[in-house]
């Protein structure tokens, strides 16, 4: 295969914007986007809320500076402040650029792009398209890529970076249609593969494929991960599927009830009740469950989000999508019955360590979007900042890689290397004797993470979690792939995704164990306060001889001094 100048792994908001920007920066480059799903299927499509930008359409006095402050405070002061500056400064231009390309943003009465309030924001600055913002942004970007003739390798699963010394030569991927491994020699690689919250399996709202593939590929190649222990939980995920019941249900007057019929939020947030901040409500629900006041079921413990008192008329007119969703995914009609909910892992703040230009420590490898950690979200991400993050840094990645590609020699990936990768995979198909089932391993991983590396963390639980993960990684060596076909082997795909999740889970648990403080979404019951003196720093996790080795990196300050974070 002819060497590429840039190979982008991932076809979501970040990957697609990177491709477009790279082509614009240098039209003569040979660029390709590799995605394990068709780009329009990417998880960007699930984002409903919107993308923040200080446009000043809704609140005329909104400024980039206010957005910067809100983001830094929201991050519990762990975000790198110069990176946040980039994020917020670029925001208005990017939202408008997307609009000029045809994104169907909702409008205000004066026909400018509409904005609405969102959690943790001092001004209403979240730009949206009804409740389908991510979906319409993704569709628009995909359409524009088709227009520009971006080369896509759809349904290719990236397996490993090909590394020579301190450089990457490109990557090796499986062509799902044929089952064959193909080499993608490239001067530069941009990883834009999305988050890893799906490692919590049934306790996650993520798509089945948000398994941290890009992070795992980078991690195995020796590139450090940053702040992996910071996983954001959303309070109300449906019991069976983990899918989100949005805040609107509580906003319209829904009650959270435990098995004693009690509106328990009275004990945690007397004033705000069900409308406290996400992390507070998540912790409250989790506490109720842990202290035995949750309902029990084969699918696990849960609580009730009760809308029955609101009446059929209100539910049908103001919450039709929530009702539809409960009926479709849980078989429950909120007019008749309370909705079974529990907190769900939603977003991963941590990821591949990059600088403000999306460069990783390995030259020629860049990362952007949820799979990267610049860091702009620090210990906790504000709603509306994720869509912004993927767009801003996706663009920067495309631009940077396009400018720097010329500095690198084109890669060369040998037949031998391809064969090595192929053999490894084939091996798992024919293992004899005792074998492990991938479904079991995956469930157990999700369970131990939910229990031991969940909302409330504590040294002994975390230790247990780390042991469990180590054991699962060991057992994984004997996992059997039953489907031996070449054509579209989704069994193999899922096993490889599990490998990625297991590799990364170590970094999450280890980071959580090491960080002896509570900050943002990381809550230690044994260290309940934020400890800036000891812990105002990033956690670095690098793979050394197959296992995690922790380090640290300072947080770039310069805009706002550390202060207590209260709302």
């Amino acid at each position: 295969m002819k060497p590429f100048d840039i190979v982008i792994v991932g076809g979501g908001g970040a990957g697609l914007y990177a491709a477009m920007e790279a082509m614009k920066t240098n039209p003569s480059l040979n660029i390709a986007v590799l995605s394990k799903v068709y780009p329009n299927r990417s998880h960007t499509s699930a984002a409903q809320g919107g993308a923040n930008a200080a446009l000043g359409n809704k609140a005329k006095d909104d400024t980039v500076e206010m957005h910067i402050f809100d983001t830094i405070k929201g991050s519990d002061y762990l975000a790198d402040q110069d990176a946040v500056d980039v994020l917020c400064s670029e925001a208005p231009k990017i939202i408008r650029e997307l609009e000029n390309m045809g994104t169907p943003w909702s409008r205000m009465d004066d026909n400018t792009i509409a904005q609405r309030p969102f959690g943790g924001a001092g001004r209403p600055r979240c730009c949206y398209c009804a409740d389908k913002t991510g979906h319409t942004i993704l569709q628009t970007l995909y359409e524009q890529c088709l227009k520009k003739g971006v080369i896509f390798f759809n349904e290719y699963f990236a397996l490993n970076l090909s590394v020579k010394g301190s450089r990457s030569r490109g990557l090796v991927a499986i062509n799902m249609k044929t089952g064959r491994l193909e080499a993608f020699p490239a001067r530069t690689v941009i990883l834009a593969t999305g988050g890893y919250a799906k490692m919590y399996w049934n306790r996650s709202s993520n798509a089945a494929g948000n398994t941290g593939d890009g992070q795992a590929i980078a991690y195995r190649a020796g590139i450090p991960m940053k702040d992996m222990e910071f996983v954001q939980f959303h309070p109300t995920g449906l019991r069976k599927s983990g899918l989100l019941v949005t805040e609107g249900a509580r906003g319209e007057g829904g009650y959270l009830i435990n098995k004693n019929g009690e509106r328990f939020m009275a004990r945690y947030a007397k004033e705000k009740m069900e409308l406290g901040p996400r992390d507070l409500v998540s912790r409250s629900l989790e506490t109720e469950i842990l202290e035995g006041r949750g309902f029990d079921s084969p699918a696990g413990k849960y609580l009730h989000l009760d809308l029955t008192h609101l009446g059929a008329d209100l539910i049908k007119s103001r919450l039709p999508q929530i009702r539809e969703m409960c009926m479709q995914f849980e078989g429950v009609d909120p007019i008749e019955e309370p909705i079974p909910v529990r907190p769900t892992a939603h977003y991963s703040m941590g990821g591949i360590d990059t600088d403000n230009f999306t460069r990783t420590v390995m030259s020629g490898v860049y990362a952007a979007g949820e799979c990267a950690c610049v860091s702009v979200h620090g210990a906790n991400r504000l709603g509306g900042n994720s869509l912004l993050d993927i767009l801003v840094f996706g663009r920067i990645a495309g631009h940077t890689a396009a400018e720097e590609a010329g500095r690198f020699e084109p890669g060369n990936i040998s037949e031998a290397e391809l064969q090595l990768n192929t053999d490894e995979i084939r091996g798992s198909m024919h293992s004899s004797g005792h074998y492990e089932r991938y479904g079991e391993l995956r469930e157990e991983l999700g369970q131990t993470l939910a229990l031991n590396v969940g909302i409330f963390r504590e040294a002994s639980l975390l230790k247990k979690g780390m042991l469990d993960i180590a054991e699962l990684r060991e057992r994984f060596k004997r996992v059997r792939v039953f489907d031996t076909s070449d054509v579209f082997n989704t069994n193999l795909l899922q096993v490889l995704e599990l490998r990625n999740m297991l590799d990364l889970a170590e970094t999450v648990a280890a980071g959580a164990f090491a960080r002896e403080e509570s900050r943002g979404s990381h809550t230690r019951v044994d260290f309940p306060v934020r400890d800036d003196a000891k812990w105002h720093k990033h956690t670095m996790a690098t793979m050394v001889k197959g296992n995690v080795s922790l380090g640290e990196k300072p947080v770039t300050m310069g805009r706002y001094e550390l202060q207590e974070r209260t709302y």
């Binding site: 408008r96 045809g102 909702s106 009465d109 979906h135 359409e143 709202s205 494929g209 849980e330 991938y438």
Partner: protein
């Protein structure tokens, strides 16, 4: 509705999933495999497939991703109906199932089969490219990012529903004409084309329309409404398809294609007689030569059965046609006024 307060009792029933199988590597033709599993109330078809894959047969292959009805990956035919597996409740399907306790699961129609429940999306993507399913912005790239176009609520509403489309291809699977001709443009592509055409930021309108009115394009739709009926997002797809035709007639005139000529005939017959002059419809649509070549044998049969439609002079106008014609013509004036006020 009373639910025991401390425990949710799960109702279960045994369900047999009859799943379409085909692995081109080893099978000469497709076949079905049956899997019977207990399914709780509230479980979706996708979750059932996942269960079967994990616990019984790891080789059954299907696409799935978000499990939340937004990515469009898991489109398939469930008891013959094209829909998303992740938003389809097993118990609901069973309640309407012709064979008790059985659910047939098959791949989408009209797209090439890759394996089991997986079909090739590329032909659809190729059509999207062919019909320019993107906004070609009137703003040059170098000027982008400074100020947004001002879009009114009225315009936003024109394309709002069409932007709900998740490209699940259920409409593609159900389309009657696509089934008969794989080159047909497809409902999803028509929907997207319409969305682009009504967006004032787009510069390609005329060119896109020119392509849409050609063979295998918008005039080939037989309005069976299967697309709209099966749309998982309840998008009124036929409104978009008729919107394109209306647009084509307005911009390109009534004499542009046989499709538009066919429509013109209805309009003029109604005005003149209030009834269709069917006898000359084929001629006005496709010309004398075509009519003789294609319909002569049938015309002969019809003559023998006294079944031919009356020739134009013998078509009796509706009673009271004169007054009707006045109303009709006054409406024509109204419409002219509307158009004038719309053209800025």
């Amino acid at each position: 509705m009373t639910v025991p307060i401390d425990q949710h009792i799960e109702q279960k029933q045994d369900v047999t999933f009859r799943i379409f199988r085909f692995n081109p590597q080893v099978d000469s033709k497709p076949y079905f495999d049956d899997y019977t599993i207990p399914v709780e109330r509230g479980i979706t078809v996708l979750r059932s497939l996942n269960y079967i894959k994990e616990h019984i047969d790891a080789s059954i292959s299907f696409r799935a991703f978000c499990q939340a009805g937004i990515c469009g990956s898991c489109g398939m035919r469930i008891n013959g109906l094209s829909q998303l597996a992740c938003t389809t409740q097993v118990w609901e399907v069973l309640a309407k199932s012709r064979e008790p306790g059985l659910i047939r699961v098959e791949p989408l129609r009209n797209l090439p089969l890759i394996k089991d429940l997986i079909v090739d999306m590329d032909p659809l993507v190729d059509k999207m490219k062919h019909y320019s399913n993107w906004i070609d912005s009137t703003m040059p790239e170098s000027s982008m990012g400074k100020k947004e176009f001002l879009i009114s609520e009225e315009e936003f509403l024109r394309y709002d529903k069409a932007t709900d489309c998740i490209l699940c291809a259920s409409c593609v699977s159900e389309c009657s004409i696509l089934r008969a001709n794989k080159e047909y443009v497809s409902p999803a592509v028509l929907l997207k084309s319409y969305r682009m055409n009504v967006d004032t930021r787009d510069a390609l309108h005329g060119q896109r329309l020119a392509e849409l009115v050609k063979d295998h394009g918008v005039w080939d739709c037989t309005h069976c409404y299967r697309c709209q009926e099966s749309c998982v997002k309840s998008i009124p797809i036929m409104d978009a398809i008729h919107g394109i035709r209306e647009d084509a007639i307005e911009l390109r005139g009534l004499k542009d294609t046989s499709g538009s000529k066919h429509a013109e005939a209805f309009m003029s017959d109604i005005e003149k007689k209030g009834k269709l002059v069917e006898a000359t419809l084929p001629i006005r649509t496709n010309g004398v030569f075509w009519t003789i070549q294609n319909l002569l044998p049938m015309a002969v049969k019809m003559i023998m059965k006294h079944r031919t439609p009356p020739p134009p002079p013998l078509v009796k106008p509706a009673k009271g046609i004169k007054v009707f014609r006045e109303l009709f013509r006054e409406m024509t004036e109204h419409v002219k006024q509307d158009h004038k006020s719309h053209k800025k």
